[in-house]
């Protein structure tokens, strides 16, 4: 990892971790929790949708599977003396959902691009219908409850928040490791031209199934935390197309296939959505405003924020005939050069 990359990661996660200790306003930490949920989901989705080029629309099904796994296990149990049990079982939930993903991916990943998107969104609705109808297991439309978390009321959100920071770190760590290993190279080849990738000996089926399993496993763990946080889950919210759409939009917005893009997308879109809902909530105008934000960015930065930015800055360098590492006298130029390299590096 480059030193700048280490510093950026440390700074980002340092600030994130410190935030709930510095700010105690419930609405901010609550906003933080939902931003982190989506950042983690978008980052996990990116492994499949970005790196491997398989636009899954079914990830909410695995988010829901994780949520229900937690809720079903804990419906007649308590959350442990300090309320940490639901967090401690997350790795098991994640592994279980990953195995489920392996089975689903083995079938679904025989299709590609738009067909794959349709197959996976169908899967989402199948999962939702199951959640509605498997009454004995999921409680159907009545929903199912988690044990109350015995956390201090003043800092109630903090443990959820911190666990979500950890899961985001896991997701981004996996993405980073993928990008810097043979797996990422193989996935990028699969995304570009799967048939040729197979023809030059890339382990196509293995690597894309691995990416899918890891991706949905992380989504399942985030679903588990969400279930505990909201404490009562219903099929229409646990297996919700809006969750799928949210993570996909954020990954597209920030830049598919990049390490920071999907996270950036979540940190822009979730607060924007909340703000607009707060401003225009009563009139439904907020949905239009939300769509407008998204359309505007897609119009101006069609490849997503990070890739478009790095492309733009690289073109500017080419136009001025200077290479990015040539430092200049003009401080403004130097700043833009700096920003260019950072954006380029983050876009990798």
């Amino acid at each position: 990892m480059s030193r700048a990359g280490v510093i950026r990661a440390l700074l980002f996660f340092g600030v994130l971790t410190a935030l709930p200790f510095a700010v105690t306003a419930h609405w901010i930490v609550n906003l933080g929790v939902f931003t982190l949920i989506y950042a983690g989901l978008a980052s996990a989705w990116n492994l499949v949708g970005g790196l491997a080029g398989y636009p899954s629309l079914g990830h909410a099904a695995f988010f829901g599977a994780g949520a229900y796994a937690e809720a079903i296990y804990f419906q007649h149990r308590d959350a442990g003396a300090n309320g940490l049990m639901p967090f401690l079982v997350l790795p098991i939930v994640g592994a279980g959902v990953a195995v489920l993903g392996l089975a689903v991916g083995w079938i679904a990943m025989r299709t590609r691009s738009d067909v794959f998107a349709i197959v996976t969104i169908t899967l989402l609705f199948v999962a939702q219908t199951l959640a509605f109808n498997l009454n004995s297991l999921t409680g159907g439309s009545q929903g199912i409850g988690m044990p109350p978390a015995p956390f201090d009321v003043d800092t109630y959100e903090r443990p959820f928040y911190l666990v979500l920071v950890l899961l985001l770190a896991v997701s981004m760590g996996v993405t980073w490791a993928a990008l810097h290993s043979g797996a990422g190279l193989s996935l990028q080849a699969v995304a570009a031209d799967e048939e040729r990738a197979r023809g030059i000996g890339v382990h196509v089926t293995g690597v894309k199934l691995l990416a899918f399993a890891v991706s949905v496993g992380i989504a399942g763990m985030i679903g588990g935390v969400w279930a505990y946080y909201v404490s009562f889950i219903y099929p229409q919210f646990a297996v919700d197309p809006l969750i799928t759409i949210g993570m996909v939009l954020m990954a597209y917005l920030g830049g598919r296939g990049t390490l920071w893009g999907p996270v950036l997308g979540a940190f822009v879109l979730v607060p924007a959505q909340q703000y607009l809902a707060y401003q225009y909530g009563a009139t439904q105008l907020y949905l239009i405003a939300y769509a407008a934000v998204f359309l505007l960015i897609m119009l101006l930065l069609p490849r997503g924020i990070l890739p478009s930015l790095s492309h733009l800055l690289r073109r500017r360098h080419a136009a001025t005939g200077r290479s990015p590492d040539e430092t200049t006298q003009d401080p403004a130029d130097a700043a833009s050069t700096e920003a260019g390299t950072v954006a380029e590096e983050m876009a990798r």
Binding site: S186, A197, H203
Partner: protein, 243 residues
Amino acid sequence: MTALLEVEHLSKRFGGVTAVDDCSFTVQHGAVTGLIGPNGSGKTTVFNLATGYLHADSGRIVFAGRTLARPDPAALYRAGLSRTFQHARIFPRLCALDNLIVAAGHPWRSLFTRRRGHADSDRALALLEEFGLAAHAEHPAGELSYGQRKLLEFASVLMSEPKLVLLDEPTAGVNPTLVATMEQHIRHRHAMGISFLIVEHDMNLVMRLCDPVIVMDRGTRIAAGPPDAVRADPAVLDAYLGQ
């Protein structure tokens, strides 16, 4: 010389069209074999069948002494059978160096090791050097010219140290200078011990470079032999010029 690739009684139909019809030929170890024929005579289909991209309706493929009932492109590639495509297929977003490294035919565990191993990088850089692409090593392959892409694709399939390389129209659509460059690279690699099977429409190049030459028409082999013999063969003249 021994047979490296044997194509035996291969047939392939697409709906009502018989693209390859009971076609048999062999590619000898150490030879540069040309595969020519009028448009639509089934050359590319034979390529696709031999490399496992398509499955034959009947017939069989024997590569390096192994009979393959259902050839799989990945397994064949690792066994030493590489190919290029008519319209250079490269990974445009990956840099030239990564385009080579990804084609090294790695084992499973390489998914969990570094993206660019030292040995791979060195070998890839040497290949880029050989093909005059070293200056583009870190640039996206999509920025290369069409001719350079063809060179890059050729270079990339050499990463697996193949026994036989199938080139599908290596000089189609590239400028005359690059045709000469491509020919040099093929000769150089041939001298290093790689066998070739080349589909090509540039007859001058085929006659210079290939021996033997196999001629296909309407999905089957109509002639095979040294270039001069093939050129004088009435069946070949008939296929190309008609009666």
